[in-house]
Symmetry: C2
Subunit: 497 residues, 2 copies
């Protein structure tokens, strides 16, 4: 049943149950697991670990690529397994534990986790748990629907547990490109100069003897929960496409734009879908997660190539894409997130980065993570990796939330993830503000005129005018700067009355 998936015969006697494998994980260990945007996470061992912890409490420091599917973070949190967690998550139960201070969450730029491990800035994983479609004849690990941090976790850990997942199409083999930067002080440039370059190996090269357990399962990835485009997200897409057209007309971009990156979620997905009916051709993606829209763009003949670190699809597209993988395989590559998000590569390729803001302020500072300045939503993810070095750093959001109680455009953001220096373009359904080359007072005018919902435009303009009267390069009235957030906390609405 799995002999064709475990091709190094000496490893066949390492096959065991998930519970047996989970027993190799000890209290206090640092564990590195596969999984990125709910794709390709190890599934059986973490569940068995949660089960075991319910009987005999233990806790670990868990690092992954990004978010996990199959409610794993929920299960692990409820079982008290997570003492520390990095670098990203999207689970409601874990989120609550983080915000209660029960789980120490280290929110990181997604390109940096393995770099910090490599430099001994973080404790290396004692053990890695990696989902695979196969183990090669050499004992190398073939990942599934994500690469994430799996390669470096397997390389750094002394012991590796492999979950062979029979639910994945074995034809995934060949899709991955595993490149690991060399060590300093003799580190060489990352030799990637085109989105379709292949610079590494198709499997994770580790000594076969590090594989101490193999668990076989067939639990599929969780489908993505992306919402279809609505009137507002369509308007955001339209504003952005009109802007791209102006850039092309002005000779600043070609008709194939630049390599596109789109953050996870419904708005970014809707923007990408909007490109299906755009005049742009021969598009390419150099992104973290490839969502439904990637394959919709392939099917529409718009997309030439897509590079990512994971593939996360809705139930609608999942069977079709993975059941017909040969249709796309030559135009796809999955890389370690260190490479998909690497500042060196992002700057070299000139990426157009499109990410979702929780809120932004008058001057273009962006909050991607903290509700009310205090409560973690998901994490910064790759947004900073891309925004800092992108050709165009674009942030999108609907202008209001909570039925109009909340403005996504505020006098001062309650938390800064991306400073004014890193933000070029802001888009809401109201319009687009092009902040390039503008001083703060000019940025504020562009934001007020283009992005704010009409219900908040007057009050925001009033704040700005009164702040300007007090002076400063970046005018503010400190006594009022956070008042909208305080109002929201106290009354449920940003504006009084």
């Amino acid at each position: 049943m799995y002999a064709d998936r475990v091709r190094q015969p000496s490893l066949l006697d390492k096959v065991m149950t998930a519970a047996e494998a989970a027993a190799l994980i000890e209290d206090g260990m640092t564990v590195g697991m596969s999984g990125f945007t709910r794709a390709g996470e190890a599934k059986a061992v973490p569940l068995a670990l949660a089960e075991r912890a319910r009987q005999a409490p233990l806790s670990i420091s868990l690092m992954t690529g990004a978010s996990l599917g199959n409610d794993l973070d929920k299960q692990l949190t409820e079982a008290g397994v997570l003492a520390r967690r990095m670098p990203f998550q999207v689970d409601a139960t874990l989120r609550k534990a983080i915000n209660d201070g029960r789980v120490m969450f280290i929110d990181q730029h997604l390109s940096e986790t393995v770099e910090q491990l490599r430099n001994h800035q973080l404790k290396k994983p004692d053990i890695a748990v990696i989902e695979a479609v196969a183990i090669t004849e050499q004992g190398h690990i073939v990942p599934t629907t994500s690469v994430g941090n799996s390669a470096s976790f397997a390389i750094f850990a002394e012991r590796v547990i492999v979950e062979i997942n029979l639910a994945h199409n074995p034809n995934l083999q060949g899709l991955h490109d595993i490149y690991i930067p060399t060590y300093r002080p003799t580190r060489t440039p990352i030799p990637l100069t085109r989105v379709d370059d292949r610079i590494g190996s198709t499997a994770i090269p580790i000594p076969a003897e590090k594989i101490v357990a193999i668990v076989v399962n067939d639990q599929p990835d969780s489908p993505s929960t992306v919402l279809p485009p609505d009137v507002e997200t369509q308007a955001i897409a339209d504003h952005l496409i009109a802007f791209f057209q102006r850039e092309v007309d002005a000779g600043r971009m070609s008709n194939s734009l630049g390599p596109l990156q789109a953050g996870i979620g419904s708005i970014a997905n809707a923007v990408m879908c909007g490109l299906i009916h755009s005049p742009f051709e021969n598009l390419s993606m150099y992104s973290e997660v490839l969502q439904d829209s990637t394959f919709d763009l392939f099917d529409a003949g718009k997309l030439a190539f897509a590079s990512g670190s994971s593939i996360t699809l809705s139930a609608r597209r999942n069977a079709d894409v993975f059941g017909n993988l040969e249709r796309y395989k030559e135009r796809l590559v999955l890389r370690p997130q260190e490479i998909s998000n690497h500042p060196e590569v992002v700057r070299r390729l000139g990426i157009i980065g499109i990410n979702t803001a929780l809120e932004f302020d008058l001057y273009g500072n962006v909050n991607s993570t903290h509700v009310g300045g205090t409560r973690m939503m998901n994490g910064i993810g790759g947004s900073g990796d891309f925004a800092r070095n992108a050709h165009l750093a674009i942030f999108v959001t609907k202008s209001i939330a909570k039925g109009g109680a909340v403005s996504s455009v505020v006098p001062m953001v309650s938390h800064v993830d991306h400073s004014e220096h890193d933000v070029d373009i802001l888009v809401t359904e109201q319009g687009l503000a092009d902040l390039r080359g503008l001083a703060p007072r000019e940025r504020a005018r562009a934001v007020i005129d283009n992005c704010v919902h009409p219900d908040f435009r007057g009050p925001l303009g009033d704040y700005f005018e009164r702040a300007c009267a007090r002076g400063g390069h970046t005018p503010h009235i400190l006594r009022e700067a956070l008042q909208w957030h305080i109002n929201l906390e106290e009354t449920g609405r940003m504006l009084a009355g």
Copy 2:
């Protein structure tokens, strides 16, 4: 008198007075001038331009490498010449005009200005004014004590004015390494893998016919105003050196540390001076500005090589270093600031970045630029270029200012330039907080325990405890978060009573 400096004979008839050259600059133009950290700026033409504007008003958009010396920004501001200014400045008169909203200042990561010009995101200079020690036989420009953005300004501008400055040692020729990234979509890796690599040319290669004017002058650079180490800066240096020693002992760094970057100013200079009496050997620098401490380290036999974008010395060291340049020349290189600060290179080399914070908060967010959240001090400079991608992102500051009225460690910074994600180590004279791998609540504890002045430790700890009781990944009390800044604004002290 200057024939040996203008070696392309056809250019000799372009020699003219500064006033004649300044007349080539028209109202409304965008002008790119040499100059980085008060080193190597064009001196005569901007003064002549200011003089002219006092008679016949005109205004321009001025971009430089970084700050200018010789009171040029003051003169230009007073003459009303500056409509727009980027990407950095340190002048009190200009600062006031910026904060009054009279000059539009675009505060940029110093590695990004020419990248944005190259990508047509900013308007290219109509004319460039570049200080040189010589023009070569090929008509190429040999810069003086800084490279900054000079090379790209000269390449992008249609017309170039060269100021031959006879005050500079002609032996500066050969010190510079001019590398310009290739254009996308065929951009290749920057082939720099060691701090002492030379990857470009020793002069700025432009067609000789672009040089429309040559002005000869002999006004020296302004000396740096760096203050000697004091008790607090010595304590900061001591904490940092003890930390480096622990890193070496733990096997995380070699005894030659990593390539060092130090921001401009007295504190960073003092830290570098502290290395003279440290046990570390064979040090190297990959920095923006090379200050007195660089040459003190050379003289002490501690420093093997220094790469920068400018050399800015005190009156004490200036004559000695430039009068004996051959003593250092083989161990020095000056690069375009795009390359000295390039994210690709910073990450590859594993730089130890030491920059000065104006203030930082409980969670390690750093304000480098805005007093009271509104008033621009100098600009972000290269601190973001280095901090984001450094092996160690270190920020230093004295724990108090204004005779104890101000704490540099606050509940929430009034402006964020570097978010918690980009800050590894914080140091004041009180001690050092190592924030690597810590969650926000742990970071706060490390900051309170190690960095805060005793006068503020109680109040800050009290704020943190009460914020934690309200919950959140990054606990805050929004009603109080900015209160210390408000108190300062209203009473001149951060703490009441």
